[in-house]
């Protein structure tokens, strides 16, 4: 037995015939903030979808709180893990607050009609947490890419799940909001009982906020603590470009050669 929140064992991930990852094992414990790093097409999104259980692994198994994802009811999973997907295309008008309130869907049955006061409070707090309180009444089809992204993150926060899976949450965000969102995630994870797995492209943001890293796109996936995994050699090999790690004060900074 393991005390891990999420336990992925011997996963194989494929895209068509291409093998993205083979024999990938990963244990995420409460308090962990994992970043998933890798070049385009290395399988970051496929991995997050697999860990969320919206896609079945091509081999191996994922257990969440000790339950096999494939054998757990979707309604139950929705209260244990949430997923932020890459850019959502909105065809229909909806107010941002309504979109965030959809994050409360797992806590209602089909006959429940009105959102209760708790839901509204949670949704407003989630919007405020990503600096989007003023967007609540706006139509999502009129929002900018970064505003839309923050509303989507707020919907995930409103879901209030122990395991948060985020696919490039910093995409479209300005620097201020990139840091703000990651700071909020880290605070939630440090608050206890929760963990996050975040696909990122910015190595410096990853090194600053994550506790662990998973590198995809190399010969084999590499998983471990940030300072062990994000070295000159591993990163240079995975991204196929020379990278250097420099000590700046108490932190590492990554510089492209």
């Amino acid at each position: 037995m393991t005390d891990a929140l999420l336990d992925a064992t011997a996963l194989t991930l494929r895209a068509g015939r291409r093998v993205l990852a083979h024999d990938l094992s990963l244990q995420v414990r409460a308090g962990d903030l994992w970043c998933v790093l890798g070049p385009n097409g290395s399988g970051k999104t496929t991995l997050l979808h697999t860990l969320a259980g919206v896609r079945t692994p091509d081999a191996g198994a994922v257990r969440l709180r000790g339950h096999d994802l494939a054998r757990t009811a979707p309604e139950q999973l929705a209260r244990w893990r949430g997923l932020l997907t890459q850019s959502v295309h909105d065809s229909f008008s909806a107010r941002a607050l309504e979109v965030v309130l959809l994050g409360r869907h797992p806590y209602h049955d089909r006959w429940s009609f009105d959102d209760d006061a708790d839901d509204r409070r949670i949704a407003h707090e989630a919007l405020a947490a990503v600096d989007a309180a003023t967007l609540a009444a706006r139509d999502v089809t009129t929002l900018s890419g970064g505003e839309r992204q923050r509303v989507a993150i707020a919907a995930l926060l409103a879901q209030q799940v122990p395991l948060m899976l985020l696919d490039e949450p910093t995409a479209h965000l300005d620097l201020h909001h990139q840091v703000g969102v990651l700071e909020h995630l880290r605070a939630l994870v440090h608050g206890g009982g929760r963990a996050a797995v975040v696909a990122l492209h910015d190595l410096n943001l990853a090194a600053r906020f994550a506790s662990h890293a998973l590198l995809l796109g190399g010969d084999a996936p590499i998983a471990g603590r940030i300072d062990e995994v994000m070295t000159d050699d591993t990163l240079s090999a995975v991204f196929r470009h020379p990278l250097h790690r420099l000590r700046t004060g108490a932190r590492w900074t990554y510089v492209v050669d």
């Binding site: 979808h49 969320a52 919206v54 896609r55 079945t56 009811a73 979707p74 309604e75 139950q76 999973l77 929705a78 209260r79 893990r81 949430g82 997923l83 997907t85 959502v88 295309h89 909105d90 065809s91 229909f92 008008s93 909806a94 309504e98 979109v99 959809l102 994050g103 869907h105 797992p106 209602h108 089909r110 006959w111 429940s112 009609f113 009105d114 879901q159």
Partner: protein, 331 residues
């Protein structure tokens, strides 16, 4: 919930007013007091006969058809996540037209024509389902290359095939039958049969679709997000497909290929009352019924004693609305 009930009551009041109008006007106008008496205490007089044997069945057929088409349109728009979808995107109108026209070509009666239309609509829909069955299987959900676009394309392609067959049938038909065929193709409730059935199916489908509303709201955000929020997306897609196809087939059986109600009504209502499917679906049933009832009343009175096919009027109304939506979206 109180807001939803208020909206439904307003629409129901409008529907009642439209029904009263439809029963009162025509070549033989009936004043409100006489109308009420004819409805509640039919005495076998002229008024009562006209109301019960001519206008009421036709009004019910128009209302049932309009409601079914608007409901089917709203469901298809959620299924395909495309605001421009209508009840006929799966090729149901073409399939029904081929069935109905073939029955007419062989001079079969109205009952056969209706049966053939129903069978044609369902056959076309089943064919689309078979062609695009992968859209209803697991891999479709997270694969961006699959999903709604292929379903839509399969429907559009099949519709093109049906159009060719309809043209072939029209070419082969004797002159005398062509007028009836053209009326059928334009959408026409003058046959006025099957009204009670259409209305009954409408009520049944609204009752079946309503409990799905909460999940449908989540589905609008896309299949992956819906899955992550605990919605059983594949089962929901199949249910939507079956409900919308059944609504379309029954509507076409009753009144032929009435256009644009299924596109325009959900949009107009969405603008007015928002996009919560739990409010919208019953509102579509009421609003679509009212619109087609009014259009049919106009169709039989505007150039009386000539009758226009009701589909003509809904298209005259629908095309400008569609264009306004389309141009508004790309602005």
């Amino acid at each position: 919930m109180t807001r939803a009930i208020r909206i439904w009551l307003v629409l129901a009041a409008l529907a009642t007013a439209a029904l009263a109008l439809a029963l009162a006007v025509g070549s033989h106008a009936i004043a409100p007091p006489e109308l009420l008496r004819a409805l509640l205490r039919p005495d076998g007089g002229v008024d009562a006969q006209i109301v019960h044997e001519l206008r009421l069945p036709r009004a019910l057929a128009a209302f049932g058809t309009g409601g079914l088409l608007a409901l089917a349109g709203a469901l298809m728009q959620v299924l395909l996540r495309n605001p421009l979808a209508d009840p006929y995107v799966m090729g149901a109108s073409g399939g029904a037209a081929v069935g109905a026209l073939a029955a007419m070509l062989f001079g079969l009666g109205a009952a056969f024509t209706q049966g053939a239309a129903f069978a044609g609509a369902l056959a076309s829909t089943a064919l689309v389902f078979a062609l695009a069955r992968r859209e209803f299987a697991g891999a479709a959900l997270t694969d961006p290359g699959l999903g709604a676009p292929r379903l839509l394309l399969a429907g559009v392609m099949l519709a093109a095939l049906w159009t060719a067959l309809v043209t072939l049938l029209l070419t082969l038909s004797p002159e005398a039958r062509i007028r009836g065929m053209l009326f059928w193709l334009a959408g026409d409730v003058s046959a006025g049969s099957g009204g009670a059935a259409a209305l009954g199916v409408l009520v049944l489908l609204v009752v079946l679709a309503w409990p799905l509303g909460r999940s449908l709201n989540v589905m609008l955000r896309g299949p992956v997000i819906a899955l992550s929020l605990g919605v059983r997306v594949l089962a929901l897609r199949r249910a939507l497909f079956v409900l919308a196809s059944l609504a379309t087939a029954v509507a076409m059986t009753s009144s032929g290929a009435v256009g644009f109600v299924g596109l325009v009504v959900p949009h107009a209502l969405r603008l007015a009352i928002g996009n919560d499917q739990r409010v919208l679906l019953p509102a579509c049933a009421l609003g679509g019924g009212t619109l087609l009832l009014l259009a049919d009343t106009a169709a039989r009175t505007l150039v009386a004693p000539q009758q226009l096919p009701v589909g003509l009027l809904t298209a005259l109304l629908g095309v400008p609305t569609f264009l306004a939506l389309l141009l508004g979206r790309t602005r």
